[in-house]
Structure formats: structure tokens, C-alpha cells
Amino acid sequence: MYLRFLALYLVVLTSSVHAAPYEFGHGFNLHDSLTAGGYISTEFASDQQVDTVTIDDVAVMAYGNIGSNFSYLAELEAIGFYHKNITDGDEGGSQKFHIERLYGDIWLSDTFNFRLGKQIAPIGYWNLEPINVLRDTTSNPLYSTILFPKFLTGIDMNGYLPQSGTTRYHLFGQATHDMDEEYINIPNTHFYGLSLEHELSMETSFGGSIGEFIALKSDEKTQFLQGNAKYDNGSLLLSAEAIAAKTNYQNSKSDVTLSGYLQSVYHFSNEHAIVGRYEYYDDQHRDYRDHIGIFGYSYRPIYPISIKGEYQWHSQENENRTLLSFSVLF
């Protein structure tokens, strides 16, 4: 199936008879019902033990509108496409493409719309813009990677709250296996939640989510409460997200994991920005906690091309590391 999709993707991309002029980073708009694009990212990491180079994400996507009430999106991604350990010379990687997203949207009204299929879980800010090229740092905060499923294979009912022009909701649920279980951080067959997002002004918004999921491997139920806030005036972007997740562990009492981050990005021109981030992670079950400080620099010759560098300080000292990356959205 994946090979057929990739073959079709290449045919579509090369048949630009009806295409609109291509604008870098905006996809190949072949028709209102078909826009094709993708992204790629490479990463260099250096810690106290090893140096590695990775072609991390290679992804292709297609989407479009079918009439005024329906749209779709399909995305395939190979993660860890190529990997080389510079220190000992080992190399490898997986060129297998996985279903990252495959969904349809039904647009009914201001208040009721539905997204069905495999989609990004509508929780917070970071999770919704998870790819390297759209981020301001090469790394992801721990908050976003291990405390809730990043994807949902199910239904998301969404829209503006009735009588509100500035508060959006997402009521979502999954009661089946993930569409591609090899490609999700927490495989599960039970994931429900509610997210709210309120826009105070053009610069300021805040929101939060509640939900629960049962991890497939451990059969342990986790309930979480998450909050997020953002201020963006075009040159300064401040964002903060935090989560408290309570897990009922097998054969032991339940424990809480707390995590969050506060990030500041200052753009001193369209191309250049400096980034600072503080992260906190506290897993009471494993009795593991870490404070992480990150300082980074971001250069975008044009917005869809991102070159970034960062250094991470961990309170767990042996985890300090340097990260560099190059990523492109096309």
C-alpha cells in the first residue's frame, strides 16, 4: 500500500500540467482537491559518549478539499531513515514508511465538525507542530514525547463553543488499535479527552486538556491534566505547557509524573532567532527527576528551511549534549 502511495505521489508531483506556480514551503498545489508536499530533517548529536548523524524524518503528504464540506490528508513518514554513529562507525536505519496521518474532515458548522482517522492528538501547542522544520529547537521537550499518545486513531469533534467566537474545543476518542502501531509513542486502544483553547487577543492565548488512556503493552491506565499558554507579538514568542499524569501501575500504587517547559524565542530579524527553554521532569514512580536548560540559535534563510543549533544542560550531568539540525518543508 505504501509503495503504491509513494508511486502515485511521484506521478502526481511530476504531472504539473494544471499546477499553480510553486511557492517553496507551500506544497505543490495541483488542484483544489490535491496539494502535495513533504519534509525532511537531518540531525547531528554529540554527548559525552557518542557523536551521531541521523536523517531523521523523510515524509510525503497529500491533501485537498472535496467540495465545501469535506477535506482529507494522507501522510507517510520514514523515521530514523539513516543513522551513523561517528564514534564507532556503525550505521543503519529504516527506510520503511509508516502512516503518520490519514484522516478526513467533515465541516458542518461553526460548532460541529468532525475529523475521522489517524490524526495528531489535539493537545497543547507543541504536539500540533511536531516536525523539526516548524520548531524553534532541534529537540522536543520531554513533556511532549512520553506522557500522552501523540496520535489518535478515532474521532475528534471540534469547533467553536456555542455563543463563543474565541474558544475552540476538541472532544476526541479512540476505541481501537492505532492505524500503524509501530509508529506511535504509546500504543493504546483506549484514549479519550477534551481540549479547550481560548484566544484572549491576537497575541495571547491559553488552553488546557483532560484525558485518559490505557497503554497497550502494560495495560496501565493514565489520567492527565494539561495546561498551555502563549504570547506572540511577532518578534517575541513566549510559550509554556505543563502536564500532570497519574498512572495506575500494575501491582503497585498509583504515581504521578509532572512535566513542563517554558520557552522564549526572540526573533531579531526574519531569519535569525535565539531560543531559551527551561524544562522540568519528575517521574515519582521511577524516582527520576531532571531540570533541563537549553540555549539555541535558529537561522532560516527562508521560513521553510531551518538550520538550528542548541546546547542542553541537564541536572543529570551525563546527559548534557549538543544538537545541530537542518530541515526543509517543501
Binding site: G25, H26, M61, S68, L108, D110, N113, I131, G165, L329
Partner: protein, 133 residues
């Protein structure tokens, strides 16, 4: 007295809205907030109530589009470009375009739910004004 009336008329002409947000006469919508217009043209909102909305932009860099982007969307071209690159990842494309104000007006007249901006001087009984800027 004549001088006073002349001054009032001059003052009024300086304050007259330059551009109008227009929809088809078939649409029951009679007013709209700048926030709603912004959400519609940023493709965050696909309807007002149960009325499907189709935003239409003017192709190119005409003064009406620049004014609309600055005054209603409150975004310059660089900021908008960044926004649409991010939306590309979300599977969302910018509004459709028309090459001229005349074609915009004809499109709005004939397509229920279409919404766009034209110079206020072009407004006539074929379209409905729901906001001015």
C-alpha cells in the same frame, strides 16, 4: 452656514470607509466582527453559524489586499507567509483568489457563502455589505 456644511462634507469624505466586506445578497448574514473575518481568511473558521463561508482574496499586491491584510488580518506579508507554511503541514491552503475587483464582485454575487473585499465605490445593490474598513 455654507462653509460649515462644506467642512462637514469634507470631514465625512475623509472618514468614509475605503473598502467593504461583501457577501451575496442570498446570505442571511447581516454583520460580522473583524475577529470572524480574520478567522475566515486564515481558514480557521469555515462557517458563521450554519452558513458555509468561502473567502476570496484578490490576486497580487493591490492596495486593497495590502490594506485588508494590515488592518483586518493585522499581519504583514512575511508573517502571513510563515503562517501559511505552518498551515501547509496542517493540510490547509490559503483562500482562493480572483484576478480583479470586478471578478471578485461577480464571484460573490453568484456563489452563496463567498466573502471578499472590494472598494466601497464599487458597492451596488447586487452585493451586501457586512463590514467596512
Amino acid at each position: 452656514m455654507k462653509k460649515f456644511i462644506l467642512i462637514c462634507l469634507l470631514f465625512e469624505s475623509f472618514n468614509a470607509s475605503e473598502f467593504s466586506i461583501v457577501v451575496s445578497k442570498k446570505v442571511t448574514l447581516s454583520e460580522i466582527t473583524p475577529q470572524q473575518i480574520r478567522d475566515i481568511f486564515l481558514m480557521k473558521r469555515h462557517a458563521i453559524g450554519n452558513q458555509k463561508i468561502i473567502p476570496v482574496n484578490l490576486l497580487g499586491q493591490d492596495i486593497s489586499r495590502v490594506t485588508f491584510e494590515n488592518e483586518i488580518l493585522k499581519m504583514d506579508r512575511d508573517h502571513l507567509n510563515t503562517y501559511w507554511v505552518k498551515q501547509h503541514f496542517q493540510g490547509i491552503t490559503p483562500p482562493i483568489t480572483q484576478p480583479s475587483h470586478e471578478s471578485i464582485k461577480a464571484f460573490v454575487q453568484n456563489v452563496e457563502g463567498a466573502i471578499s473585499y472590494i472598494p466601497s465605490a464599487m458597492v451596488d445593490s447586487n452585493v451586501k455589505v457586512i463590514y467596512e474598513f
